[in-house]
Symmetry: C2
Subunit: 336 residues, 2 copies
């Protein structure tokens, strides 16, 4: 059978193509009676609805928002915190009648999603600010919102108060009386990539420096999953081991706790551990984890409403969401 288009339906019913288009896309533009006849004819011919690609071209928008992720997609999906963010984003977009298109950063010059995929706007997440994909997005003049990064003035962004949260965590262990303190944070290579890692480090220092505390810093990549455990073990196995460790994430904190236990140390009796994120497992872990809460779902919602605003022609806002210290049972005053 030949392809069914607006024109075939128009011919069948004896109206103009435009009227058929209106029957589907602007019901108030024609009489209910005619509309019913058109829809009936369309159904009869097996017409599904206006072709999305054609509509996208004619309207100038596609109805879907891109999510630019650079680095491993697996990492993004499998990390609990970023998965929760993605979930929130997709839920929120769905509620606004938009689909989400995942745009991996490409190595193949023949297909660069950031350049070649049709979207109305882009959320930029976990992104190396030097990635060429960002350049494509900008050249395309696509509305964009950067999440967990602060690319530059004038670009909309959604962040959480990483620095403030980290400061609270550091202050908490200081307040408990700790002075020998370790930090397990993310290794970023090359250095300036990870904005939260930078900000959190600044936050920790904001508290430690005035107290005259010089923390021992170990850095570890995300992968492999044992890397953080090994790093923490090394930190805790040395002489003069820290009595408290503040970590870049809850995942690192859990690794640190396991490392401590493997060395026969009790948490928090022998060593206090603080996480970051307040992921779902933090409350139910043993011991329940003291951590810095960020509301990842709110971050997703803010990202969507910000991109919607930018797509709607609004001024690019810079949103900053609060963080909050959640004290549970993985921290205590130092022994002795």
């Amino acid at each position: 059978m030949a392809k069914v288009t607006l024109q075939s339906i128009a011919d069948r019913v004896g109206v103009s193509r435009m009227t058929v288009s209106n029957a589907f896309s602007r019901p108030d533009q024609l009489s209910a009676d005619l509309r019913a006849r058109i829809l009936a004819a369309a159904d009869e011919l097996g017409y599904v609805g206006p072709d999305p690609a054609a509509r996208a071209l004619a309207r100038g928008r596609t109805g879907s928002v891109g999510l630019l992720i650079n680095g491993s997609l697996s990492e993004a999906f499998e990390d609990a915190v970023s998965a929760a963010f993605l979930a929130s984003v997709s839920d929120e977009l769905a509620g606004r009648g938009m689909a989400l298109t995942v745009m991996p950063s490409s190595s193949d010059p023949a297909f660069v999603p950031a350049r070649d995929v049709a979207v109305d706007g882009v959320l930029v997440y976990i992104c190396d600010p030097t990635a060429p994909d960002l350049g494509w997005l900008e050249r395309r003049n696509l509305p964009m919102v950067v999440v967990d990064h602060n690319l530059r003035e004038g670009t909309a962004s959604v962040n959480v108060d990483d620095r403030g949260g980290a400061r609270l965590a550091a202050q908490h262990v200081l307040d408990l009386g700790h002075r020998r303190i370790g930090i397990v944070t993310l290794e970023t290579d090359p250095e300036p990539l990870n904005y939260p890692a930078r900000e959190r480090m600044l936050g920790w220092r904001d508290a430690f420096d005035p107290a005259g505390v010089e923390p021992v810093v170990v850095r570890t990549p995300y992968q492999p999953p044992t890397a953080a455990y090994d790093a923490a073990r090394e930190l805790l196995a040395g002489p003069d081991r820290p009595t408290a460790v503040v970590c870049f994430s809850d995942a690192f904190a859990f690794a640190t706790i396991r490392a401590a236990e493997s060395l026969g140390l009790q948490v928090p009796a022998d060593v206090s551990v603080v996480g970051f994120d307040d992921s779902r497992l933090a409350a139910s872990s043993r011991p329940p984890l003291t951590t810095v809460r960020q509301n990842v779902a709110a971050k997703g919602r803010a990202a969507v409403s910000t991109i919607a605003a930018v797509m709607g022609g609004g001024q690019p806002e810079q949103v900053m969401l609060p963080t909050e210290l959640v004290v549970r049972e993985s921290t205590a005053p130092p022994a002795g």
Copy 2:
């Protein structure tokens, strides 16, 4: 500035629009010299590349594959097993030069992703087979592959051997000598929705029925997260409590273990627990979990290669991936 199109570049260089198109999309169709001049002019004019929406219309394909998920997107992203599947799918698609578009099943009749989003093919995942979205996909005649479901003959699908795996799990506890056995499985409401739940139940029965064992079955929804814990507690708190529990998933198994411990029961000394999936946490949990392994990454890869084959005009295949029993330390012979 006016919008830059192929035509403006063509005018500038003094060639036909088609030649400019070729410069971008089929470099072998023109001389290297002219191509360089065209690209230079394009660059000068700030042209980014052929407009994706226009190209999609003209070519008849968009370069992105849809993923139809019905039910909560959050659930899909936050569940470790389905997140791993999504990760594998998106990685694999990226490797083949395609983007992934998440298509939530819509309640808003004005925007139904399954009908209104431009994609070249669709993976159907976690889907209620009665969802109207499926009807839209079929009417659109989109290539599709159903994952973790067996919709009907003639539709391509990717499944794991749920039934065989469940049978192995059940046989394992039988072989250990257990006869009072519980099952913690998924509540599907309405009933026939969840294909893996049905298949696994069949697999358990395949082993229990011939042995004359009548398991005690409790059913629990995914949400809230405490539901499985409560259900397992109820199962284990009753008189004649089971000495072994086989579970629908690792997540349910962990909940069951926690429930057992909350009742003062040791795993596996007092009660053996078997999971399903072999998710990442299974090996490192305490005790390490006996479970049925499915290779979720392979499932993602198979889904992508199958949809690619169908999009390429191939016959719809029905793929079935193997499962395998992984015996760890959460199972032991019954006490006494």
